[in-house]
């Protein structure tokens, strides 16, 4: 095959574009580990009472936050609000994460009964220095699954500011 000058320039140009796209893909693949921010809608159900929360996790190098916003629906239709932020440190061993709560900040509208919440959520969300072991699987395509020991929630990675 005889290549003229223009074919070679075109080949170099296309190859460069391909390399840039690949580098971006690789960057995204790396980026999807740490730091990461993800968002999940979770309904916890116990004794026919459900609590719906929007969880937003943020993991950095060894520390992170999870904001929890939602409401509890009683059988009579009344609701209580849960609105808090948990600051935590974490250690990672492959897909296994050990999260330790460092501070719980309850927002003014958080009026849910703590004891009752304790029946639904681990103490990690309620008190300082409580551990949460969780298996976090990155599924590519921006999906992360939290396993405990069955799928607890699917967390969708989001860009900062979303």
């Amino acid at each position: 095959m005889k290549l003229n000058k223009y074919s070679i320039v075109l080949l170099v140009f296309l190859s460069t574009i391909l390399l840039v796209i690949t580098a971006y893909q690789l960057y995204r693949t790396k980026e999807s580990h740490h730091p990461l921010t993800c968002r999940a809608w979770l309904t916890q159900v116990k004794d026919n009472i459900s609590i719906n929360v929007l969880l937003r996790f943020m993991f950095r190098d060894g520390y992170g936050t999870v904001s929890m916003n939602g409401h509890k629906i009683y059988q009579n239709g009344s609701t209580s609000v849960i609105s808090r932020m948990v600051y935590f440190n974490f250690r990672q061993d492959g897909d296994f994460y050990l999260l330790t709560s460092k501070n719980i900040v309850k927002f003014p509208d958080d009026n849910v009964d703590e004891e009752w919440v304790g029946n639904y959520f681990p103490a990690f969300y309620l008190k300082k220095e409580k551990d949460l072991y969780i298996n976090i699987l990155n599924q590519g395509d921006n999906n992360i699954i939290f396993i405990d020991p069955i799928p607890l929630l699917v967390c969708k990675t989001v860009l900062f500011g979303q």
Binding site: A40, W41, N143, L152
Partner: protein, 274 residues
Amino acid sequence: MYNNYIINESVVFHPTTSTLYDCKAPDHLIELNSPAARCLLLLIKRSGEVVNQQEFMDFVWKKSGMTVTPNAYYHNISVLRKGLKKIGLGDDIIVTIPRIGLTLAAGTRIRMIETEKSSTVNDDAHIVASSENKSHRVSEKKNHTANSNILSAPSSHSARSKWLLCFPLLIVFALILPTISVYLIIFFSQKDNYFSDFIPSLSTKECHILLSPLTFEGDGKESALNYAKEYVNDCQKLPWIYVTKIPSLPRASVIRCDKSFSQSSTCISAYFIE
């Protein structure tokens, strides 16, 4: 097979390509136009003799069926002189004999080499011409050492041309190979998604209910389907339902997505504590 000529052991003349190479600086080459090159060829062939204008006209143009004015002749001799000067032979290598014609300067050494294809050397013949003694001596002998040195100019030029052609291709490969490697790494490092081994258990027009393989132990399947059925009415929005219910564990998980998990953009999780 064709002949090349070495002039004064310093310049190689390729009549077929109308080029002059400097033996000491292979990168240095002069391209003559075809008539000028043929004028030089005639002077070389008739080395030691004076070539008149009509002979030039016959050899260079008339043989090819062309008729030109004397101006063309003078112009091409001028081009030839400039070319010879640029390649370092000086413009006085061609001597004008007034009202007779042109000849190569006295003491000009011409050596002929027979070349096969681009750079293969078979034999060489030496033509040593001297205008002083007007003798024309041709000797044929093997002299591969001399040839290889002298032909290094066009060989080197050819190698350089190949290198110039290969260099961009090397860049292309240098770009493509890492790209392919990265894609292979990404491809092989990608795991199947968590729900890929979930088993389709119930499909309606709108719902796709898939159960974890762990669910099929004991009466887990029936129990798992009961959890899924709670959401059947919402299948228009979230038709893909992935259920995990392990009989020995008082927990159940229902993940509902707008599309199959690998393509989903929205999923809502429900976690049941029994």
